[in-house]
Symmetry: C2
Subunit: 199 residues, 2 copies
């Protein structure tokens, strides 16, 4: 295709990236070869290191190359609040969007019996142990507002109450800056029903 078998392999290999088709893969390969070999080689090294060495934190199941991740190891974070998320991507979104300074627990999925995902796969015994330590006072349940995410939230709330911990859930509503016209009906109905008195 290009006259260089190694370049053809690179173009093909770039397609493992989500959202990258053959045209973008070509553009990326040519860009790196023509203008940015040094950063491209750094990318090769970063991929190799991360994909070989990053596993999961033994305490919160977040991605980590050490037994305990940087967030769990930090002494500057509130040890009385635990936020439970489905994925490390959700954890990152919360870190970036909010001022949250507590702990996390990553389920690496959601309850989904048909896919063979039960309490064991989500590490819920590890979570129960964590609650039993007695430090956590509030569990913020930040699973996604899907059918499975809601079922998971329900299960987690029971687990929290059983451990004497206060379960909370992210508020639902119209997204900030969103137009009513484009908000889905369920969200709109919920937001309408949960309307609040203006000060």
């Amino acid at each position: 295709m290009t006259g260089s078998p190694l370049l053809n392999e690179l173009i093909e290999a770039l397609r493992c990236l989500p959202g990258v088709g053959s045209k973008s893969a070509q553009r990326m390969a040519f860009h790196l070869l023509e203008r940015d070999r040094e950063r491209g080689l750094r990318l090769a090294g970063a991929l190799e290191e991360a994909l070989r060495r990053v596993g999961h934190c033994t305490r919160c199941r977040n991605f980590s190359e050490t037994p305990v991740c940087a967030l769990c190891a930090s002494t500057s974070r509130d040890r009385h609040v635990l936020c439970v998320v489905e994925s490390a991507a959700d954890l990152t979104a919360i870190e970036q969007a909010t001022g949250y300074r507590g702990q996390y627990f990553v389920l690496l999925g959601r309850l989904s019996p048909l896919d063979g995902l039960g309490p064991q796969e989500l590490g819920l015994s590890l979570l129960a142990e964590r609650l039993a330590e007695g430090e956590i006072e509030e569990m913020i349940i930040a699973t996604n507002p899907t059918v499975e995410g809601e079922a998971t939230a329900h299960y987690l709330a029971e687990l929290a109450r059983a451990g004497g911990v206060r379960p909370t859930r992210l508020a639902h509503g119209v997204p900030l800056g969103g137009e009513l016209e484009y908000v889905d009906r369920g969200t709109l109905a919920h937001a309408f029903g949960s309307r609040q008195l203006l000060g």
Copy 2:
């Protein structure tokens, strides 16, 4: 940001790819870690190999990891037609869109005195030697239809005529000001097939 320094480095490193911002870089990193470590490692290897080993063909200046590229070395391609392009990306676009089975010459740029790009930087003495071999009968000038590309085409046409070679140019159909790399295949194939003899 994520609790894993190696993952943070990977996300940062992915931003060397054109069109990849911090949000896509995150999505890519999580995707590879969660679902596709094996293909991600293959990508690391392909990057390393291509960026360290791919140089330029000594005959046509196309990308190549061997002294002479696969296209120049092929015995099944017409040795009487030479297509001159600005970049390897343009060569690839022509290979994919048209049925062209001749030879190529890659300028790795276009005449642009203000950027210090003159005949020497574009390898035009190598091109002149090639014409002097006497095998080439037609030179298809496929520089981009930009001001600099047209000036380059003009210069190349003179070079061809001086070497007793018939210069042709891609037919109209390629949008003025457009870059070959981004032209849709049908247009490119049509323009290629309708190339015209330069007065």
